[in-house]
Symmetry: C2
Amino acid sequence: MMVVKVGGAEGNDIDNVLIDLAPRRDYVLVHGGSNEVDRLAEALGRPTRYITSPSGVVSRYTDKETMEVFTMALAGKMNTAIVARLQSLGAPAIGLSGVDGGLIRGHRKEAVRCVDNGRVLLVKDDHSGTVDEVNAGLVQLLFDAGYVPVICPPGVTPRGELINTDADRVAALVAAGLKAETLVLFTNVPGLLREPSDPSTLIPEVPRERLSYFMNFAYGRMKKKLIAAQEALDGGVKRVVIASSQPADPVERALEGMGTVIA
Amino acid sequence: MMVVKVGGAEGNDIDNVLIDLAPRRDYVLVHGGSNEVDRLAEALGRPTRYITSPSGVVSRYTDKETMEVFTMALAGKMNTAIVARLQSLGAPAIGLSGVDGGLIRGHRKEAVRCVDNGRVLLVKDDHSGTVDEVNAGLVQLLFDAGYVPVICPPGVTPRGELINTDADRVAALVAAGLKAETLVLFTNVPGLLREPSDPSTLIPEVPRERLSYFMNFAYGRMKKKLIAAQEALDGGVKRVVIASSQPADPVERALEGMGTVIA
């Protein structure tokens, strides 16, 4: 079994991945959808704001209202669209947000440190959360019954508060929980690049023990993918592949190791 | 087992019902959420339009864009909020839209007849649908595993098109599919009233064979509830109760027959 994660940022070809996945029954799909969230936030007159952590990780700033927008765009529109599309391709897909059945349980960060113009600030109304537990049993139940689970954030706290969790890290924790062989993280570039702007500088292999060194080559969202890869490997997943969603047969290509393989 | 349906129109006290349901494990919940859809449509600058069928049934006019708004508000915001709230009350709730696992499969109406200023018109871009099949096996699978399923429209066609289906009728079909004993339809009035504006004119009992006669007392959304009641009884459900969501212990009251009982 494998876990496949598709993103929603510019340049990701989700449909290309879905067409390749549709005949298979050996996977669980996880998706994000930052573009869709931004679009809805914009349409509602609440443009997205981002915060940057002192270590350079960029996150969406999610106050209560933004959390609602996030849920509507991701669990409402995008998850439903992916599930309906997979069904039209013959796959018995079922959508789950991290709230459903306590699939992604976590706690809210009391305060988030962020950097603004060189100063470190504390943000207190952010709904970012840390995942404590994944209900892999629920995913396994549906998988064993022949369904294709399609999972997205948000997660939930025991008090029923929604938390914004990164979809790459959710994919890693789901993969670990299911003891998946492989985690494929699709993106809009060929993999981890030495030079982010130059696709020819692809790093084809990263030995697990050197992952922290290779973090130096990662910027922005790629840094989250490497953190997710680390979490997946720590959780018992054998292999993580970061690959492009754009070429034909993207799943097959990724499984053949075309991309950055971390093992 | 019973199926409980809560609505989202003005005056429905959903939280009151959730608090009463939380300790129970003998139900499946279905919800609508017309208010939430209207609110989001308004915020996005696309106020809701309604159409009235020649027989007097009022429905939301749902073109493609409205279908997206509907999905975001219902399957995104409202379903997630109900699931999170039930979890905070200790219930292992799991949200499902009718798209998930082909839970509510149907076909789109080719054209909908509606009355406008006394003239009958044909509307062709409406995403209203007729339900052909309910995947009761999926609901039963989750119920048997200890989860509390929380179901909402939309439904889906085999081609992956979303369809707007009435939540009362979905509840009826789910109840029939699960061979539920009782279907409780909560509303913002005490039940079927002889005079819609006078709560003291409650009709406490409707014998099943006289349901079509009693349709004469039903206006607007109450008509849909009676159609749903008919469908549930035809599908083998023993008893349908139409009851108010507002008093304390609304579930217990409804099960004791306080409301309109159709059997």
